[in-house]
């Protein structure tokens, strides 16, 4: 048996091999071509998805008031996107707005009303019922009101407008208190004042970035946090992608390159606080060059005489040639637009500086024309602009508290203990107040000091409405509706106020039982002022369509004419900025800027924001101090070295980051980190530069001059590795981000329609 015959063997082998192959091929060739198209593996994303429900609402992550539409599935919010029909953001939404979901689903939310049991700030609370909590508060208010001491009640709220603000007003009026403050750290007091002072407008104008051809931004980081970043971004994009005519040019003037600076075509570093002087220098040039041909030319040249480019050049550190060139461009490119804000506006000379910017716009004839700056009409409805508390009024509040003039402080949303410099001693002021009530839904620095916590809904769970303050050139209002039912035992701020009102017995003047009614009522009034065809449809339809669209607007534009009178012109002038601390002891100027991720710190408890690399530095989880490379070299510091930043008013510890685009005598720190409370994601992370700011104020508005603090750096000798996602942020001659001289004139080498795959093998 063992001796296999060779022929036998050969046959076997042949048959086996060939047979197998041929057989497969045969079976193969009988197949229908369609069988090949999809492999037998299906990517898991391919399962067909369910039907989502979309709700239109309003984003309240910052004060811009963008429209959002929220995608919900099975009663859970899944994604926030921009509301396409909302004129402010036109369907787009910034990262922070999208992270609103994590406000709703944040694991650190306060889920029940709480009453303090232990020491203040000891975080010892007991859970109580709403009845109990509201009862206690109402009782106190009742007593004070009866005792005619209603003014000892203070309501300190985050910036709200619309009918909630109105409700606050009438509520406080009923209590007999005039202590209603809206406090936002980044509220542009100086900008309002400047426009009031120069244009006589108490509302912000509309800055038409979309149609402008040269934008001159004095320190305003308009792409991330200046007034209405989304709308400005849209304008920026539109102007950059303009097909028919030449693309818009953007110039950014600031001591530290912001995102807007990076996006700009030119970044000019003027020494901090002198932006206004620079603006006047340009104005001077324009007038002297006869660009401005107005009747009052003489007044102008008189007013601007002290600001000849040469003098301005030595004050600002910007070369004279640059100043004149910019001035000529600004006058020559029509329409052009100058805006100011950010750090530049937060100096001791903030208002004057912004007036100077307005002067530029006026001289170049940009006022009231497309592509320039347009005046907004009065916001819709009867909503007046609520009083915004400046730093000064916060100081006064603290003072009053120390005097024992405040018995009850109700805090809604805002977090002054974090955003006010330690020098304001607001924490101490709180100690002097017998009853501190917080309506916040997070344990932020202020809330932990509260005696009574009545947690409010997140904005995705509550009714509200918003009339974008910045406006879009015409009247816009938007209603925000709950997109999910409340996750926890919390109530909407409006409802809390309403039920308080009922208990105190204000039902005559505040009749509504729920915020929804209140809002609906308010919108009925707006509806009644509406134009005929709106009225024709009847209110219910109007209301329904409003909720569907999420936004309402009518195209009535504001005034376009403007003539400044003599004494305004005469009064124009920008003083040199004042800094606290002597230059010898404190060689550096601290430049705190709003972090794109955390805004004024409210975003620090959102894990998405914490994990999103900072756009400019790619640092995640933590804060840093930015140094010019040469400065760092002089001090012998490298990235990650821990330094103490010492101001006359305290010190913070932060690692060094070498930042190529910052002036050598300026150091910059992002605001937003350095929370001592505020949930697991924010607690004890990074440093808060606001702590060490000097209580320097802009005289007219009492706005805190956040950029007017001098500091010194003290190396601690310790070193940490900055957690950042970027490796080497230099393309080593690899031409990865390619640039072209001028659009259209260079034919790209990239094979556009790409080689058909049949050519590859």
């Amino acid at each position: 048996m063992p001796n296999i015959d060779r022929r036998e063997f050969l046959k076997l082998v042949g048959a086996g091999g060939v047979g197998a192959g041929a057989g497969f091929m045969l079976k193969e060739s009988k197949k229908d071509p369609t069988e090949y198209l999809i492999p037998y593996v299906v990517a898991p994303e391919d399962f067909s998805s369910g039907i989502a429900t979309w709700y239109n609402s309003v984003c309240s992550m910052c004060s811009a008031g963008c429209g959002i539409s929220v995608r919900t599935r099975e009663g859970r919010a899944k994604k926030i996107e921009g509301n396409p029909s909302h004129p402010v953001n036109q369907g787009r939404l910034c990262g922070m707005g999208q992270a609103g979901l994590q406000v709703l689903y944040n694991p650190d939310r306060i889920t029940e009303p709480l009453l303090r049991t232990g020491e203040r700030g000891a975080m010892s609370f007991e859970q109580i019922t709403w009845e109990d909590g509201l009862g206690q508060l109402a009782e106190r208010l009742e007593l004070l009101r009866a005792a005619r001491r209603g003014n000892n009640v203070c309501l300190l709220s985050e910036g709200t407008n619309g009918h909630l603000a109105q409700l606050f007003e009438s509520f406080m009026r009923q209590l007999g208190s005039n202590r209603l403050h809206h406090y936002d750290f980044d509220h542009p007091h100086t900008l309002y004042a400047a426009n009031q002072g120069f244009f006589g407008q108490d509302h912000l104008p509309y800055y038409d970035l979309q149609n402008t051809r040269l934008l001159l931004s004095f320190g305003a980081d308009y792409l991330t946090n200046w007034i209405s970043p989304l709308h400005h971004s849209l304008g920026f994009g539109a102007s950059r992608q303009r097909q028919e005519e030449e693309r818009g040019r953007f110039v950014q003037i600031e001591p530290r390159m912001s995102i807007s600076g990076a996006a700009a075509d030119e970044w000019v570093a003027a020494s901090p606080g002198t932006e206004g002087i620079l603006a006047l220098g340009m104005a001077n040039h324009m007038v002297s060059q006869g660009v401005y041909q107005g009747a009052d030319r003489a007044d102008w040249s008189a007013a601007l005489s002290d600001y000849s480019p040469s003098m301005v050049a030595e004050q600002t550190g910007v070369s004279e040639s640059t100043i004149t060139r910019l001035a000529d461009d600004f006058a020559g490119t029509q329409p052009s637009l100058a805006i100011g804000g950010g750090a530049a506006a937060n100096h001791s000379n903030g208002v004057d500086m912004l007036v100077a910017v307005n002067v530029l716009n006026y001289l170049a004839g940009n006022v009231g024309r497309e592509g320039g700056l347009l005046f907004n009409p009065q916001p819709a409805g009867t909503v007046s602009r609520p009083h915004q508390a400046s730093y000064r009024s916060m100081l006064e509040l603290a003072e009053a508290a120390q005097q024992g003039e405040i018995d009850v402080l109700i805090i809604n949303g805002t977090n002054p203990v974090f955003t006010l410099p330690a020098a304001a001693e607001f924490r101490e002021a709180l100690d002097a107040i017998p009853l501190v009530v917080s309506l916040s839904s997070f344990f932020d620095e202020t809330t932990v000091l509260a005696d009574l916590i009545l947690p409010s809904n997140s904005y995705l769970e509550s009714w509200g409405d918003n009339f974008p303050e910045a406006g879009v050139g015409f009247r816009v209002g938007a209603v925000s509706q709950p997109v999910v039912s409340p996750l926890y035992n919390t109530r909407a701020t409006g409802d809390i106020i309403l039920s308080l009102a009922q208990r105190i017995g204000m039902s005559s003047t505040i009749p509504w039982t729920s915020m929804e009614e209140c809002i609906k009522d308010g919108w009925r009034r707006i509806y009644e002022q509406g134009d005929p065809q709106t009225l024709a449809q009847g209110f219910e339809e109007f209301w329904i369509s409003l909720l569907k669209a999420g936004v309402w607007g009518e195209t009535t534009t504001g005034t376009t004419s403007f003539e400044p009178d003599q004494n305004i012109i005469a009064g124009i002038g920008v003083a040199a900025p004042e800094f606290s601390g002597s230059e010898e002891d404190y060689p550096f100027i601290l430049h705190p800027y709003l972090s794109p991720n955390f805004h004024d710190g409210r975003g620090a408890n959102l894990p998405w924001m914490q994990e999103r690399p900072d756009p400019m530095t790619s640092v995640v989880y933590g804060s840093w101090v930015e140094l010019n490379p040469t400065t760092a070299e002089e001090l012998g510091l490298i990235e990650g070295d821990l330094v103490d930043i010492e101001s006359p008013h305290g010190q913070v510890l932060a690692p060094v980051f070498i930042y190529p685009a910052i002036m050598p005598n300026v150091i910059a720190m992002p605001i937003g980190q350095g929370h001592s409370e505020y949930g697991r994601y924010a607690k004890d992370r990074g440093a808060n530069p606001l702590e060490i700011l000097s209580p320097q104020m802009e005289p007219i508005t009492g706005n805190l001059a956040t950029s007017a603090t001098r500091v010194r750096l003290v190396a601690t000798g310790r070193h940490i590795d900055l957690v950042k996602t970027s490796g080497t942020s230099r393309d080593l001659g690899r031409n990865i981000v390619q640039t072209t001289g001028d659009e259209g004139h260079e034919v790209s080498d990239a094979r556009l329609n790409s080689i058909p795959i049949t050519e590859l093998t």
Partner: protein, 451 residues
């Protein structure tokens, strides 16, 4: 070697080998226990930990997704070369000095292959699905992707493992037979089974010879292909520093280089501790030394070519990668590698060095350290330095990785220790062949022979 061996008769060898198997002192058990324990603690426990927590237990990160696991994998594959390869070549060129050492050399091949194969499972993210890389009909109607260099790996290594197992087994059938008669109990049963009833008839010897020769012929190209394929895992990518045509020969040479060094180490250990002084002699070290010297020169040459490729390319990608390798964080390792693998081996030019045992041992270990470094550098200096500088990163092994690396040596040792107690670790019959056959003796008339 004749000079040393002709004192010994067939029986002596027989005795020695059988003793090496049957007689086990406490020293052996102590070593085995330590090795085994070390393997358990340093290799398996960390691995299980990693299985539980995920690859995150290792130090790999975004740009550096490959780490020491792959380096060790290549190292062990490399070590596995030359064992069998060498013995095949020497068998075909029938150089008799091979005979005393080839068995243990092949064993080394076998076990380093086993360790390497284990490393595949340690490396992948979901080892419990690793069988998907094998072509077998399944309910998803899915087959592996035969275009993938990694699949070539699977194929090549599976083949190589089979091949070298069979090769070492075939070679030792007669010895199993010989030992069989001298053992009792379970050993006897085992050897009876292993020896397949070998009797040593002239036919059997003849068949064995041919089969063995054919196997040798087949295994040589296989061994060469295996490491070429392993190198293609890298070379077929477009990663700067890996995308090099020289890689296949580079890896093959490197493999044989480290493998031969490994043999020297094992030779020394066997000679010293298994008592084979008479069989493993200066001659072996001398010849292996010569071989090592040639290989080291080859290796140096190819290494230089690799550098020049990067340098002359002039592209930022290659250049940055190269400068990071030569002067970056891992530069000390690089120069250490050059010292151990290119400079130190030049000592072997002198016969005195080649024929002195301890220095050769030290050198061989040094070479293998250098070769491990090479593999590590290939992974650690190229992946984190790719085309987009913004995505650059840095890779450093974690504790788990390091301990698994150490543990793998323990695993290898354990396996080897078990081997020497089961296989006759010196090929008896071939050593007997090398000795002169017994002298003719006057025949003794048989008493009581039938009339």
């Amino acid at each position: 070697m004749e000079a040393e061996n002709n004192k010994l008769g067939y029986t002596d060898i027989h005795e020695d080998v059988v003793r090496s198997i049957v007689v086990t002192g406490p020293k052996y058990y102590a070593t085995l226990a330590t090795a085994g324990g070390l393997a358990l603690v340093c290799f398996f426990f960390p691995w299980f930990y990693q299985l539980y927590y995920g690859i995150g237990a290792a130090g790999m990160n975004h740009p550096g997704v490959w780490g020491t696991y792959l380096a060790s994998f290549i190292f062990w594959i490399g070590l596995s070369h030359s064992g069998t390869l060498l013995s095949c070549v020497l068998h075909l060129t029938n150089s008799s000095w091979r005979k005393a050492m080839y068995r243990s050399a092949e064993a080394m091949t076998l076990f380093s292959l086993v360790v390497a194969a284990t490393y595949v499972f340690v490396h992948v993210g979901r080892p419990w699905f690793a069988h998907w890389t094998f072509p077998y009909p399944n309910q998803w109607e899915l087959w592996p992707n035969f275009r993938s260099p990694l699949l070539f790996d699977v194929m090549a290594i599976a083949t190589y493992l089979t091949g070298s197992t069979i090769f070492i087994y075939m070679g030792s059938i007669p010895d199993f037979a010989a030992v069989r008669d001298r053992t009792v109990g379970w050993r006897n049963t085992m050897y009876s089974l292993l020896s397949l009833g070998w009797r040593g008839t002239d036919t059997e010897w003849h068949r064995l010879h041919w089969a063995y020769t054919f196997l040798a012929v087949l295994i040589i190209p296989l061994a060469v292909s295996v490491h070429s394929i392993v190198s293609w895992d890298f070379a077929m990518s477009i990663v700067p520093g890996l995308h090099q045509t020289i890689f296949a020969p580079y890896f093959v040479v490197g493999a044989i280089y480290s493998g031969t060094a490994g043999i020297v180490t094992v030779m020394f250990v066997l000679r010293k501790y298994m008592g084979f002084e008479q069989y493993i002699t200066k001659l072996h070290f001398d010849n292996l030394g010569k071989l090592l010297l040639v290989l080291s020169l080859l290796w140096t040459y190819i290494n230089a070519i690799e550098l020049f490729t990067g340098w002359y390319s002039g592209t930022s990608d290659e250049y940055e990668q190269l400068s990071f390798k030569l002067f970056g964080f891992y530069a000390p390792l690089y120069w250490e590698m050059i010292l151990f693998c290119a400079v130190a081996p030049l000592l072997m030019i002198s016969k005195r060095f080649r024929t002195s045992f301890v220095p050769m041992l030290i050198l061989s270990i040094a070479i293998n350290i250098g070769m491990y470094t090479e593999r590590f550098l290939i992974v650690a200096t190229s992946l984190p330095r790719q085309y987009l500088p913004d995505a650059w990163g840095f890779y450093a092994p974690s504790l788990v990785e390091l301990s698994i690396m150490v543990g793998s040596f323990a695993v290898f040792t354990t396996l080897f220790l078990i081997f020497v107690k089961i296989f006759p670790s010196v090929s008896m019959y071939e050593v007997k062949e090398t000795m002169e056959t017994p002298k003719l003796k006057p025949a003794i008339p048989q008493a009581g022979s039938p009339a």
